[in-house]
């Protein structure tokens, strides 16, 4: 028998969700009160707060996506934002808007995927909200704190700084956008190394590069030969190298870290990186003075919601 959420009601569903997301030490009060109560941050520390929404048919197809991967991605995209600040993720609240005929099985699998990635990254699910609507949407707010009492912002790049990216790029639509590993430890490491600016690639390399250097009217040189093109980008481009590169430059949802760093630091970073992480690290370009065509190029590429 396929059970619908309408058959057990909001309170019944809430009881199940409480069971699926037990409290942790950091959370003095989890789901079931007016707010979550938690302890985040040591003395004088900074809090990081981020929020992302996923909507059915925009961010995932309900019919063809395992609900576990929807729950996973809903938290992963927020983890990636905390990673891009060099922060430590701590506590999340989850708002789920569902059609009344949503199955209990869906909600359960969603929470299994959510809980698994939350556990892996040490995040407590501390509460949230349930609503009814015409389409499925999930919003997660994630509270974290600055590691090393230092935050890496989007601005901060200087002329001559190297442009570096983690992992491989492009073709995430095939699978990576649902299964990617947010670069949380990597972000904390890069923050401790004193990189000058950082962002996670969600809108596509070129557009997000525009966010890093666009505000200051800098430009950049990119070495297209050194852009790390993913196998999925090559697959999407059916082996055409030029098209594969275009995927790597413009596809959204890579969720790799893109950062700038002073050239004198890159040697040490690369050496330490290889000892700690298996993920690739590629120097792909350099920040330059003159504002050239990049900003307009970046503005035209990548994903826009409207």
């Amino acid at each position: 028998v396929i059970k619908k959420i309408s058959s057990i009601g909001e309170q019944g569903l809430l009881r199940l969700i409480k069971k699926w997301t037990p409290s942790t030490k950091r959370v003095l009060k989890g789901p079931g009160d007016d707010t979550a109560v938690c302890r985040v941050g040591r003395k004088n520390s900074l809090q990081l707060l981020t929020m992302d929404t996923m909507v059915e048919n925009v961010d995932f197809k309900l019919k063809t996506t395992d609900p576990k991967l929807i729950g996973r991605k809903a938290l992963a995209i927020n983890l990636s934002d905390i990673a891009a600040m060099g922060g430590i993720p701590r506590v999340a609240v989850v708002s789920l808007t569902m059609k009344p005929n949503t199955t209990l099985q869906f909600v359960k699998r969603f929470h299994i995927g959510l809980k698994r990635i939350a556990n892996h990254y040490g995040v407590a699910i501390a509460g949230g909200d349930l609503s009814g609507g015409k389409e499925l949407s999930v919003t997660i707010a994630l509270l974290g704190e600055a590691a090393h009492n230092r935050v890496v912002y989007r601005e901060g790049a200087g002329v001559g700084h190297l442009i570096v990216v983690t992992g491989v790029l492009g073709g995430s639509i095939l699978k990576h956008h649902l299964t990617f590993d947010p670069r949380v430890k990597e972000g904390q490491f890069l923050s401790s190394c004193g990189v000058s600016s950082m962002i996670d690639i969600s809108d596509g390399l070129l557009q997000d590069l525009g966010h890093l250097i666009g505000n200051k009217q800098y430009s950049c040189e990119l070495d297209f030969e050194r852009i790390p093109v993913s196998k999925d980008a090559i697959r999407l481009a059916r082996g055409n190298r030029r098209r594969a590169l275009r995927h790597a430059l413009s596809d959204g949802e890579d969720f790799e870290l893109l950062f700038t760093v002073s050239p004198k630091k890159i040697h040490d970073i690369t050496k330490l990186w290889k000892r700690r992480f298996k993920t690739k690290l590629s120097v792909i370009g350099r920040v330059t003075k003159l504002s050239m065509g990049l900003n307009r190029l970046a503005a035209k590429k990548g994903f826009q919601h409207f």
Copy 2:
């Protein structure tokens, strides 16, 4: 000319929203980076984190509601949750899911309403997310901190404790659900007085009373003569007192505070309350030992999303 959000794109809209929600001192980084960066909480303090979603046609009618009131309510319902813990609201992030044909005018008025209530309660709008969807929905996550290093939970009531409610109840559908003042200062005051349990009435007095005393298998006696019935409840009931009382007992979205307190404290609380607040305070009943019919009654009344 009526401008649609699709005409200026996501980045254009983000620039406008940044202008409408300027940063404050507590927020080191507002909208426009991967996460918001803020400083919430003194040494050893506890953070409160809450989240609420409003969906078009469920929580408001788009055609007949001033967008300012939608922005206002989206934050107000979260403020009410922080109030019910006795906390101080600090920083909010806002996720807005909109149809592509949403007007710029709508988004602007929404933010005017949001900003006005945020300013009034000292809350910084620090970021959020924009998405496209089939229906309008707003999710706000609000981060606060415990006042007096003390949090009032839903459990905590004891046998013999008085049941007390602020303001007047029922008929909120006429207007109050959009224009109510969250009882934030009142909640902080009650927390400092050592009330034993507290909740804000969002699902209706009886259902929320069930949340306060239901878990412990307590019951209660209510004095129906002392339930503070609102003028709107009487209006809805066309003057029929019994029907008006039913509205006061069961209507959702009063957003008044419902709390329990040891009888020996009520005299001082009432005296201090009158000096500080104009809002009414009504002792409406008493927590009793035996589990009677209340829980089942409460479960059947009030608003359910599914």
